[in-house]
Symmetry: C2
Subunit: 244 residues, 2 copies
């Protein structure tokens, strides 16, 4: 089979860990075990950079816990957040189709645990294991749909409506009507960046949401007195309807 | 092999036509011929709808000639253009991962020729032919990179710079320095929509570009007196540098 050198300092992980990842669902056991032999556990502290854009890529990653920020920097040094990923998401794998270099930078926004795996092994098994390629295609198709939804939102929704949609996605799907309370997954500066807004635009839009819909916001806690009203406020300006 | 019913009224296409498509590059001949048996030629006139968002999906398409617009409509009826695709691009295939329904609408913006193929056959062969899955992954990865670039641009560039980038992508890669002349691929209203701008924002930004960089625009013809100046104007605000 394929020979891959691995840094000895990282913790090895068990085959069962890979079984829990959607990327490896229904993959033949022999293939999964081959990955498990080379897979390593990786822990990042808050703020730690995992890799930088244009860096030669040898590894790809699957998140097990925590939030990662994907970003790019313009030649003038301005940062654009292009994605925020949480558990089960794959990152760095597109380097396979990008000249073996990462096409974005990745940073932990809180303590994060990942599985790291060799890109050469992904390339090898994609060509041999159709189910692995189909799993990765499904992952990429989901991301593509999400991104095209973002492009749509930037075109058709105002800032307050986009924040409203972001909040609704955090709501409990089982109780989407009356009042509810939820917790922001990462800090407001990042939410603004994720939604492609300047911090001052975000603050103004949040103030408008609070005024229009009586939202209560204290730190990371958001109280929504009327979820149905927020849905009407945000979702009529979207092709997808309610995000529940 | 898989049985697929096909409408008899469409023109059948030759195996060689599929060989010209990147999606079928290096696919085993037997698989390509299986697709060719069921593939049909489809011609659309300007403005013709190919399929609508949420419609049950039975076919996917590869463009052979012309521009297709992918769009979504909000519940209030506002249209958001989420992509413009030209030859070699695949469309409708993500329905495989979206409950067998199209996740956007598709319309021809000029006379368009496509190859139409059964989604059920794509599903069948993706599970059996790794190279087909890898080709589709490469296509999706390119689109993902392009989309994340758009999200970045919406965050970091002003409207004039985004139009500048759009024009630079149309420039001849071999002569990217002095003056040049190019042709807009589709009409200005669509370019505005593709860039996620309201028509009035687009007009103002185009006027600014004309004033700042002495662009000459007559109908679909754009004269750029100094490509290097346009590059500096647009690309310093982007992580990718010049699009050449």
């Amino acid at each position: 089979m394929l020979a891959v050198s691995t840094p000895p300092s990282f913790l090895r992980i068990a085959d069962e860990t890979l079984s829990d990842l959607a990327l490896f669902a229904d993959i033949p056991a022999a293939v999964r075990m081959h990955f498990a032999e080379k897979a390593r556990h990786k822990a990042l502290h808050k703020g730690q950079i995992l890799f930088l854009q244009t860096e030669p890529a040898e590894w790809f990653y699957v998140i097990r816990r925590g939030w990662m920020k994907l970003f790019r920097e313009t030649l003038e040094g301005q940062e654009a957040v292009i994605d925020m990923l949480c558990e089960q998401h794959v990152l760095g794998e597109t380097a396979l189709f990008h000249g073996d270099a990462y096409s974005y930078s990745a940073q932990a926004v809180e303590p994060v645990e990942l599985v790291m795996l060799p890109l050469s092994m992904l390339r090898y098994h994609l060509e041999k294991t159709p189910k692995l390629a189909v799993n990765l295609l499904a992952h990429t198709a989901r991301k593509d749909r999400q991104r095209s939804h973002e492009v749509e939102q930037m075109t058709t929704q105002n800032a307050a409506q986009r924040i409203g949609c972001f909040l609704l996605k955090l709501c409990d799907k089982d109780a989407p009507q009356g009042s509810t309370q939820l917790y922001l997954p990462y800090d407001k500066t990042l939410i603004a960046a994720r939604l492609g807004m300047k911090p001052e635009t975000f603050s103004r839009a949040l103030a408008k949401l609070k005024a229009d819909l009586a939202l209560q916001i204290q730190g990371a806690t958001v109280g929504i007195p009327n979820v149905a009203a927020l849905t009407e406020y945000s979702c009529n300006h979207c092709s997808q309807g309610t995000p529940f």
